[in-house]
């Protein structure tokens, strides 16, 4: 019983990480039709900016309010980079899919190389608040606090995203744009502003994943974003392009499947099962669990 609870909660922690990366990726693809292979870079920027801020930013530090400040700095840095990428590189290439893929793949490679050149290829110890190193007893299982932090953060982000999509004007524009971008324009709305906004939101969520992933794994490395991005893409496809709720369901399914199969089977079998799940979903429901529509 303890093992099942532990695996469930650590699986949900992993799912939270996937969701934070996948939610922005899904909205960007759903609204702007951009397959953004550079999304992992936003995660890397968030992680490294948080790591840097905790040691260098006045007021920031590895614990307490200082750590919150460092995370906020990391999230803002990730969001800023995402906005710059959209404005400078993606905007001139809308509706040119192949060029977009080439640019974003190139950017992700260049970004990793830049992080390596600046801070080295080896993993760096991530500044973690003391409480995040401990465990909490849940139904007899000793669950790492860092995993619980990820779950809470993802739940808050999910709630905030749904509230944003449901209750704000830009949320309405994004939901409509996911359905029919051209018609949004034909109602007199400059949909490019919404593109920039979803990049900013996606970049912020990915950067938060980078910061909290650093707490969870205890280290930060240049390639972290890329490896998480693969599973985030799988989550987006299973969940349905453009659907935040679909991404949440898919992230939970992928996280739990990985965790349980890797534990009860052999290590690495969970990853294979995730690919199997992707194949099954694509065969039975090609539009993903929640289709293309972003319901709030």
């Amino acid at each position: 019983m303890n093992t099942v609870v532990l695996l469930t909660l650590t699986g949900l922690g992993l799912a939270a990480l996937y969701f934070l990366v996948a939610s922005g990726l899904s909205l960007v693809f759903g609204l702007a039709d951009v397959l953004n292979f550079a999304h992992g870079l936003f995660l890397g920027v968030g992680a490294y900016a948080t790591w840097w801020a905790s040691g260098n930013l006045p007021g920031a530090g590895p614990d307490g309010f200082g750590f919150v400040l460092a995370v906020v700095f990391g999230v803002l840095a990730g969001s800023l980079v995402a906005v710059l990428v959209e404005l400078v590189l993606i905007r001139p290439l809308y509706s040119r899919t192949i060029e977009q893929v080439l640019v974003t793949v190139g950017l992700s490679l260049a970004g990793v190389a830049l992080l390596q050149a600046t801070w080295g290829a080896d993993p760096r110890p991530f500044p973690r608040p003391d409480w995040s190193r401990g465990v909490t007893s849940v139904l007899g299982a000793q669950v790492p606090n860092a995993g619980l932090l990820l779950i809470v953060a993802a739940a808050v982000v999910l709630g905030a995203l749904l509230a944003f999509l449901r209750w704000t004007r830009y949320g309405l524009i994004i939901r409509a744009g996911v359905e029919n971008r051209e018609m949004v324009t034909a109602l007199g709305i400059d949909v490019r502003k919404a593109f920039t906004l979803v990049f900013a939101i996606g970049g912020a969520a990915a950067a938060l994943a980078g910061a909290l992933g650093g707490v969870y794994f205890g280290t930060v490395s240049p390639g972290q974003g890329g490896s998480l991005l693969i599973f985030a893409f799988i989550v987006v496809v299973i969940g349905g392009m453009g659907s935040v709720v679909g991404s949440a369901y898919a992230a939970v399914a992928v996280g739990l499947l990985q965790q349980f199969v890797n534990y009860y089977g052999t290590s690495g079998l969970g990853d294979l099962c995730v690919v199997g799940l992707l194949a099954v979903v694509l065969l039975l429901r090609p539009q993903g669990l929640a289709g293309k529509v972003a319901h709030a």
Partner: protein, 244 residues
């Protein structure tokens, strides 16, 4: 003729290597309904989409489209719409996952009071069905929503693409009645296949054939000339719909 609200001159559109419009020129009168007629595939929808800046990316548009002194072709679609070019597309294109109220709210503009009174006076059902998802409306109700969405703001010209397509005869009559009332206050450039609707609404007609203007003039005169309508549209003027 009074100063036209819209002037199209030598408009050519090439999409994926196909020369769909080949030097189309016509004016839209400042009052009433100017109807764009022609057999299937002659470029009626392409004309409306070129005017409103929705030619697919990669498509090539040449010529001139002017609304008053302003040239439209270089301007982005959202600017044209804000300048008073209302567009009701073929197949309605309501946002199926949004409610009726959300579809309408989307058309609101900052600093401009939306004309809900006018829209709900024309379409009382939209007010009653505000919380219903637009995707669950009937075709006729979706058409009402598509037109109502555009009428929330003041327009200098409405472009309406096949508003009666696929609708039941009773609903076609309702849509025609609404467009008749709308046309009392704003000029309309209408693409329509249903000649009964054309007969009821149209003041002027532009007939396209193979990407070129084949005939322009008084719409009622055109409909009286059975031989002419048969040669241009493929049907006699007594028929209901145009078929290629």
């Amino acid at each position: 003729m009074a100063e036209p609200v819209l002037s199209v001159a030598d408009l050519s559109v090439r999409i994926a290597g196909l020369h769909i419009l080949q030097g189309v020129s016509f004016d839209v009168a400042p009052t009433g309904v100017t109807v764009l007629l022609g057999r299937n595939g002659v470029g009626k929808t392409t004309t409306l989409r070129a005017i409103v800046g929705l030619t697919p990316r990669g498509g090539e548009v040449r010529g001139s489209v002017r609304m008053g002194a302003r040239s439209l072709l270089a301007r982005p679609t959202h600017r044209l719409v804000r300048d008073g070019l209302g567009y009701v597309p073929e197949d309605r294109c309501v946002f199926a996952g949004l409610t009726v109220a959300e579809n309408l709210r989307l058309a609101e503009r900052r600093g401009v009071a939306p004309a809900y009174d006018k829209v709900f006076a024309l379409f009382p059902e939209l007010e009653r069905r505000g919380r219903q998802r637009a995707g669950s409306l009937s075709g006729g109700q979706q058409q009402m929503l598509a037109i109502g969405r555009v009428l929330l703001n003041d327009n200098r010209l409405l472009l309406v693409d096949e508003p009666t397509k696929g609708l039941a005869p009773k609903v076609v009559t309702e849509v025609a009645e609404v467009l008749e009332r709308v046309a009392e206050s704003v000029p309309v450039l209408l693409v329509e296949q249903n000649l009964a609707v054309v007969r009821r609404l149209a003041t002027d007609a532009v007939v396209l054939s193979a990407g070129k203007v084949a005939w322009t003039g008084d719409a009622q005169e055109l409909l009286l000339e059975t031989a002419l309508t048969k040669s241009l549209l493929g049907v006699g003027s007594g028929s209901g719909e145009v078929h290629a």
